[in-house]
């Protein structure tokens, strides 16, 4: 009697052994490229920023953010301060330290649009004292 051969079905396998390598590679990429936001809180909401057309992108890695709120409170690294007299030099002293760490420092202002200009002027004078001369006023892009 002739032997009837059974049809052998080829098993199809997707190689999954290198899957974890790919996944870890992606994970490493994300971990290396992530820049953690230093501020714990967004003190001035984006909706409160002024609107402008001629805005440019600012590379994040050399920036420090200064929040100026409507009540004239200034926040650097979540530390609130005010400039009321000549002796209030927290802004300049902090920025001198930051400038020493990073000579290409750009100070980004997140200021409430209703803030009076006087306080901004005082802050900018302290920036000049700290020799941090490159500033950026963060704005919303006008959507037409």
């Amino acid at each position: 009697m002739a032997k009837i051969k059974k049809d052998r079905k080829n098993e199809t396998n997707i190689p999954t052994s290198s899957m974890s390598d790919i996944a870890f590679l992606l994970l490493l990429f994300f971990m290396v490229s992530t820049v953690f936001v230093q501020e714990k809180k967004f003190w001035v909401e984006r909706e409160r920023w002024p609107i402008a057309d001629s805005i440019e992108r600012i590379p994040r890695n050399h920036t420090t953010t200064v929040y100026v709120m409507r009540d004239e409170t200034i926040l650097i690294d979540d530390v609130p301060t005010r400039i009321e007299t000549e002796a209030d030099v927290f802004v300049s002293s902090t920025l001198i330290r930051k400038k020493a760490d990073d000579p290409d420092l750009v100070v980004c202002f997140r200021t409430d649009k209703e803030t009076k200009y006087g306080v901004m002027s005082d802050v900018m004078r302290q920036l000049q004292d700290a020799n941090t001369l490159v500033v950026a006023f963060e704005t919303q892009k006008r959507l037409d």
């Binding site: 974890s20 870890f24 994300f30 936001v37 002024p50 001629s54 649009k113 006087g118 900018m124």
Partner: protein
């Protein structure tokens, strides 16, 4: 008496679920990452007066060389010695174009009142930046 051989069990680390763990971590990072792109108007401030005192010379600039844009507390703009009035963005663009036609190297001095809103200053500086003006001076009174 039979002496049983000790069978050494093969030590293996199960790696089949490694990719699951890794993908889970990736999803966590992707979901929690918030891209915080900074965009704004960039300006370079002049050096502090004390440092430049020796180099500074008093210059008298005429209207042909410098345009004064004085922003009052209520948001009106005084152009040179004209009467204060409110300017629309398009009017500001026209004004800047006119001044640049007179002198392509025109300096714009934005003098903002201490009581004026920050928004009014940004509006003027934005129009100047839009017109590709490089020589902008910021001051207050």
């Amino acid at each position: 008496m039979k002496i049983g051989r000790k069978r050494k069990g093969k030590a293996e680390i199960p790696t089949s679920s490694m990719s699951d763990i890794a993908f889970l971590l990736i999803i966590f990072f992707m979901a929690t990452t918030k891209f915080d792109v900074k965009e704004g108007i960039r300006i370079v401030l002049p050096q502090a007066a004390a440092e430049t005192q020796q180099q500074s010379q008093s210059l008298t600039l005429t209207e042909k060389e410098m345009t004064r844009l004085q922003i009052t507390a209520d948001g009106q703009i005084v152009v040179n010695k004209e009467a204060p009035r409110f300017y629309e963005s398009s009017e500001l663009d026209m004004l800047i174009q006119q001044k640049v036609k007179i002198n392509s190297q025109m300096i714009f001095k934005v003098i903002t009142d201490r009581e004026a809103k920050y928004n009014d200053m940004i509006r003027v500086v934005d129009r100047l930046k839009a017109a590709k003006i490089e020589k902008i001076s910021l001051s207050t009174n």
